[in-house]
């Protein structure tokens, strides 16, 4: 049991550190690498929550495929360091203010009301909870329509990306 808690705190620090790295680092390339750290830490958290298939999908699809796409685009447009904001417009003042307000609100919600309702270890589950077979059966039986909708959405996104990123002047340009 202590090992589970130890693993949770290590990966939680990794996830928070990765998230802070994404926001704080000036170079977009380093931001992408910080997001990879964050996603890998989240995959371990998914394993702790007994979502084995989701953890594998997180590593294979998210931390690898999607992040490779990001790295390619950063390399294509040139990962120049973001210049600091010259002088404050309304966005420069209200953006951090709103973020701080959200942080305070969430802290009040977490500390004040307490989370008694979710302070459980969870329901009793079988050994194959979250296994690929279980998820696949759910996808193909109970959630068939969302599953097909997701595939259609992916097709539309692929076509849309080709249309957006193609060169405008004919095929040879």
């Amino acid at each position: 049991m202590w090992f589970e808690q130890f693993l949770f705190f290590v990966t939680a620090i990794g996830a928070l550190g990765g998230a802070l790295g994404v926001v704080m680092l000036r170079n977009p390339f380093y931001s992408v690498l910080a997001l990879v750290v964050h996603l890998l830490a989240l995959a371990v958290l998914f394993l702790l929550l007994r979502a084995e298939f989701l953890a594998a999908a997180q590593v294979v699809v998210y931390a690898s495929a999607v992040m490779v796409l990001y790295v390619f685009v950063v390399a294509y447009i040139g990962g120049a360091d973001e210049p600091l904001r010259p002088e404050g417009g309304p966005l420069a003042t209200f953006g951090p203010l709103f973020a701080a307000a959200l942080a305070i609100e969430l802290s009040i919600a977490v500390l004040g009301t307490g989370l008694e309702a979710v302070d459980t270890r969870g329901a009793d589950i079988g050994p194959d909870f979250g296994a690929p077979g279980q998820i696949g059966a759910l996808l193909l039986r109970r959630f068939l329509v969302p599953f097909e909708g997701a595939s259609f959405l992916l097709l539309m996104a692929a076509v849309g990306a080709v249309v957006l990123a193609r060169r405008r002047r004919g095929l040879e340009a």
Binding site: F8, A15, A19, V22, V23, Y70, V73, E82, A150, G160
Partner: protein, 99 residues
């Protein structure tokens, strides 16, 4: 581990992502911060799926990952189109829809 810890962690990750969307100017980093927010939602979904012992939450998280992948592809396509048209890669400068 209590489920509450996971929910608290997800709330803080969401907050960091929202702060990034509001404060950063590079659209690439804004997209990365959107990923952070979606992942925080995913973590909460998986945590509640574990709490209720119901795998529907995990399927929902999987669908959220699909939507996130679509959003990334379209967003990166728009950024590449911006770069091709020699527009500034800066969300503050982009205030018109017409390309």
């Amino acid at each position: 581990m209590d489920i509450g810890w996971f929910v608290v962690l997800s709330a803080f990750i969401f907050c960091i992502g929202a702060a990034g969307v509001l404060t950063r100017r590079n659209p690439l980093v804004v997209l990365l911060c959107l990923e952070l927010m979606l992942n925080a939602g995913n973590l909460a979904l998986v945590a509640f799926a574990r709490m209720h012992g119901n795998q529907a939450g995990q399927v929902f998280a999987l669908i959220v990952m699909v939507v996130a992948a679509c959003e990334v592809v379209i967003g990166l396509g728009i950024i590449v189109a911006m770069y091709r048209n020699r527009l500034p890669i800066d969300v503050d400068e982009m205030s018109e829809l017409r390309g």
